[in-house]
């Protein structure tokens, strides 16, 4: 690796250029078993235990395609609005590496599973459509472990538990024009695939990995610049940092009269820079050819219809519906559809409550706040969506005040009980019965003669104090609207005497 000693371009220079970015995203499919054998895909097993002749690449072993993996890949393709041809084909990608036991990866090459898809992203309020060139299936390699052993100075170790894990690779068109757009695209891919339960997309476990193709060109130029492929972008933060660095580096190279070379670069998050890994001349010749051990993959209309039938509503559609049907703001709809769990939670709460907007505020505010404080996911919420909806419904019905609800909710959260049970137990029901309140009002008027005189003299602001006294007398259970009305009527009535 050569150290980059170049200065980065100034923001003014960068502003004269337009970056062109395409992403290659690898996603681990959430199958129970591997793509070409029956070994489990579970994470964290002792090294080289989830293996068999097939994923070890032993002589004579043959791959057999896992239908469940195909179905998840089809779900992903449908979610990305792809076209799915009736036939695709596997191909061998040949290269040598110690964690690649067969000496080739089984991937798809000129006949991928799906293509011509797109996703929509919103950046700075503008909607942009990013093309998905192709979605193809492949098997993962094992893992090389270069440190942590006593003899790591001399040897590397190989764990083949991951070998044969099913992946899809999603290749985008070079449609992104900023690191923000790349970030938004990757987020959209992640949320969508989580939504349709194709993958957990857990980046820490390597279930979602990303490489970027980046070039820059002067604004207004038609031709693309020379691109670099940047690898190892394994978090959202790294993706943005690496792209910003790479864009600035390329602009600096061009501004100083140099030329960008086509190469593969590796992002080093510790220094926040990209480093040249290999040039085009050293690029692998993968010698792709059709995998003779597998027959072409035929996707019948019936099979595809079956997969379509179990597709959940996609996040983009859900967002639009939440805005249209429930009158949510775009931002709120986005937050609530970030995961399938949150969208489903909200929708249930909204329907039970009859007041979707208030329900949205409760989910995004109080619920998410408490969940965050306890490090919990919405799926683990002690307050069910039905219970939250019920709480909101009681507010809307005037049974409890919003203020009271704020006191009840943490109790629901800690106990898992419904609002009704807590209200019942603590006697918290709002008092709206004018008969019951008349006595309290009379006492307040009798107890604060000075303020009563002031009010009657026209200083109406003292009313708040009198309302507060009435509320205190009812331990906050009085319906504040009813109290205010009663006070006004009684104070006015007194004048006539």
């Amino acid at each position: 690796m050569s150290s980059s000693a170049i200065d980065l371009a100034s923001p003014e220079s960068i502003a004269r250029y337009e970056p062109v970015i395409g992403l290659e995203v690898h996603v681990q499919l959430a199958t129970a078993t591997k793509i070409f054998c029956g070994c489990p895909t579970s994470f964290g097993a002792p090294p080289n235990t989830n293996v068999c002749p097939v994923c070890l690449g032993l002589p004579g072993a043959l791959p057999v395609l896992n239908r469940a993996a195909v179905e998840l890949a089809l779900k992903a393709a449908l979610a990305l609005e792809c076209e799915i041809p009736a036939q695709s084909r596997f191909a061998r990608k040949n290269y040598f590496y110690p964690d690649l036991p067969k000496g080739y990866q089984i991937s798809q090459y000129d006949e991928p599973l799906a293509g011509c898809g797109h996703v929509e992203i919103v950046v700075n309020g503008a909607v942009r459509r990013i093309g998905v060139t192709r979605v193809h299936m492949e098997d993962d390699a094992g893992k090389s472990i270069h440190d942590g052993f006593r003899d790591s100075g001399r040897y590397s170790y190989v764990d083949l538990n991951r070998s044969g894990t099913p992946l899809i690779e999603i290749v985008s068109e070079p449609d992104m024009r900023s690191s923000e757009e790349a970030y938004a695209y990757l987020m959209e891919i992640k949320q969508t695939l989580q939504f349709v339960e194709v993958s957990t997309c857990d980046m820490e476990k390597g279930h979602l990995r990303c490489d970027a193709n980046v070039s820059v060109r002067l604004k207004g130029a038609e031709k693309f610049g020379v691109k670099a492929e940047v690898k190892n972008l394994n978090s959202f933060r790294f993706l943005k940092q690496a792209l910003d660095y790479e864009i600035a580096r390329q602009v600096a190279v061009l501004e100083s009269g140099g030329r960008v070379v086509q190469e593969t670069r590796l992002y080093n998050p510790e220094v926040g820079e990209t480093f040249s890994m290999r040039s085009k001349e050293d690029a692998h010749d993968y010698r792709y050819f059709p995998e003779p051990d597998l027959v072409p993959l035929r996707i019948s209309e019936k099979w595809l219809a079956g997969v379509r039938g179990v597709m959940p509503e996609l996040p983009a559609h859900k967002r639009a519906r939440f805005i249209g049907e429930f009158g949510l703001r775009e931002y709120d709809a986005g937050v609530l559809t970030a995961t399938r769990a949150s969208s489903e939670y909200f929708e249930t709460a909204a329907r039970v409550s009859g007041d979707p907007k208030t329900a949205a505020n409760w989910v995004m505010g109080d619920l998410m706040g408490l969940l965050k404080a306890e490090g919990k996911e919405i799926g683990e919420s002690p307050v069910s969506a039905e219970h939250l909806g019920d709480l909101v419904k009681r507010i809307a019905a005037g049974e409890i005040s919003g203020k009271l609800a704020k006191e009840i909710f943490p109790k629901m959260f800690s106990s898992g009980q419904a609002a009704g049970a807590i209200i019942e137990r603590e006697g918290l029901k709002q008092i709206s019965d004018t008969g019951a309140l008349e006595k309290v009002i009379a006492e307040v008027i009798a107890g604060f003669p000075k303020q009563v005189t002031q009010y009657r003299a026209g200083k109406t602001t003292v009313l708040n104090l009198l309302v507060g006294q009435a509320m205190r007398a009812t331990r906050g259970q009085a319906n504040v609207t009813v109290v205010t009305e009663l006070l006004k009527r009684n104070l006015a009535g007194g004048e006539k005497c």
Partner: protein, 477 residues
């Protein structure tokens, strides 16, 4: 017990009549094979524990009054490219000299489930690449009929074991003629079934789209029985066929009258040899039995060698990548870098023929050459298959030589790989088309060297093939 004259039927008869037990037979067959092996080097190693364990199972079944299976007690040799759990499987290569597989090939499982007794593993060209078994890292095999000559290859050890009488049956593998040619050279029956008829699971891959497992036997009937045992759909091989397996043995009923035989003029035009004369005589015998003989044309034949050596080497270059010194292969000692480890291990481990084919295959798949070589070869392969489709509209079987010449002398062609490749011409076309074919003995030359006739039929046309071979066998024996 006269081991060399045993048949499936005579073994079964002996067991059922309690003339011998399976263990006694296995014991004696092992002793005989071990004693005879130095004459041919047909076996690389024996598997006495496994053989005796299998024999005990057969005896147990017999003792319980159960059917001991269609191959009960029959001594079988298995080519060393077919993996056997717990029994060394070297593929004739230094790289796998100490490799002990942890699983059985499907064909091996089925063989043993049918009562077959695996005596040992047979010698072959390294990774099945060759036509003489001289490319084995463990010394060549001598032809039992003429010890100064090769047994053919690559399944030379399996053919020799059956010819020598040290096994009743053998499993071989055929990619471009590796069963049929040694069967012809050794004077035994060798069958390459339809592609996909026998599971390849556990067959060490040479060229996946061309590789077959198939039987050797001293009679057509025994070969048919063995194929019936190992054939059939296997969920572990995605390319294995679901078509039901007919009773091949029952197809040998002598009813060949009216069958139409095609003689490809492209195969016979330059065959003014003893081989040609013997094939012609065999065809005449079939004609006398009532077969109709027709001239046919397989025009794409001229391109078959080039096509085969592009496709087979391309696939081989990929299939042999896994022998890299990282896991189960032998590893070169002093390598400082990963690249050195690969270079040294593979440079020292592979023999010349494997290296030649890996390089050729790597070249034809390279960027910029793929379309000109591999893709074009696939198109020609389709033309070759179409030639046969057209032929089979007119005829029930195609008759051809197996090899242009009988067994040649050890060392005679070892320095001339091209002439070795060219001699595969008659077997390669059937391999590329994926159709069934077999070699059945049709006489010997003046020097006493066996010559086999090749019978090819349409996909899954094995019954017709066995019927014709059985009829010819009747005439020649």
């Amino acid at each position: 017990m006269d081991i060399p004259s045993l048949t499936i039927e005579s073994v079964r008869g002996g067991l059922l009549a309690r003339r011998f037990s399976a263990v006694e037979l296995a014991d004696e067959a092992l002793r005989f094979a071990q004693a005879e092996n130095p004459r041919t080097n047909a076996y690389l190693h024996f598997s006495p524990e496994r053989a005796l364990e299998g024999a005990r199972r057969v005896d147990d079944r017999l003792a319980r009054g159960e059917d001991p299976g269609p191959l009960a007690g029959v001594p079988v040799a298995v080519k060393d490219v077919i993996v056997t759990k717990g029994v060394r499987t070297t593929c004739g290569s230094r790289l796998l000299e100490r490799y002990i597989p942890p699983y059985d090939a499907t064909a091996v499982e089925r063989l043993e489930a049918a009562g077959g007794i695996i005596l040992g593993k047979t010698n072959c060209d390294e990774f099945a690449m060759g036509s003489s078994t001289e490319n084995s890292a463990f010394g060549p095999v001598r032809n039992p009929v003429a010890p100064d000559r090769v047994p053919g290859g690559s399944s030379g050890g399996s053919a020799a074991a059956v010819a020598q009488g040290t096994a009743v049956l053998a499993l071989g593998s055929d990619t471009g003629g590796s069963i049929r040619q040694p069967a012809s050279f050794c004077g035994v029956v060798g069958v390459t079934p339809t592609y996909g008829r026998v599971s390849r699971y556990g067959l060490t891959a040479f060229a996946s789209s061309l590789d077959h497992i198939g039987p050797f036997a001293r009679s057509v009937a025994d070969a048919a029985t063995l194929l019936g045992v190992i054939a059939g759909r296997d969920s572990r091989d995605a390319t294995s066929a679901a078509a039901p397996v007919p009773d091949y043995r029952a197809a040998i009923d002598g009813r060949v009258k009216g069958l139409k035989l095609g003689l490809p003029r492209e195969y016979l035009r330059d065959l003014a040899s003893e081989t040609g004369a013997l094939i012609t005589r065999g065809v005449e015998q079939l004609r006398e039995l009532g077969c109709e003989v027709r001239d046919i044309s397989l025009p794409a034949t001229d391109y078959a060698i080039a096509t085969y050596y592009i496709i087979a080497t391309a696939e081989a270059s990929s299939n042999l990548a896994r022998y890299d010194g990282v896991r189960y292969t032998s590893r070169s000692g002093d390598s400082e870098t990963l690249a050195d480890l690969y270079r040294n291990t593979r440079g020292e481990g592979f023999g010349a023929e494997c290296k030649r084919r890996i390089m050729l295959g790597t070249y034809v798949l390279s960027h910029g050459y793929y379309d000109a070589y591999y893709l074009k070869a696939q198109k020609v392969r389709a033309l070759i298959a179409r030639d046969f489709e057209h032929a089979f509209r007119e005829v029930d079987a195609v008759i051809a030589p197996v090899s242009p010449f009988p067994a040649f002398k050890l060392g005679e062609k070892v320095d001339d790989p091209l002439s070795m490749y060219l001699s595969d011409i008659y077997t390669i076309t059937g391999s590329l088309a994926g159709i069934p074919s077999m070699s059945v003995p049709c006489g010997t030359t003046a020097a006493g060297l066996p010559v086999g006739m090749q019978i090819l039929t349409r996909h899954f046309g094995e019954p017709v093939m066995f019927r014709l071979a059985g009829a010819l066998e009747q005439q020649t024996s």
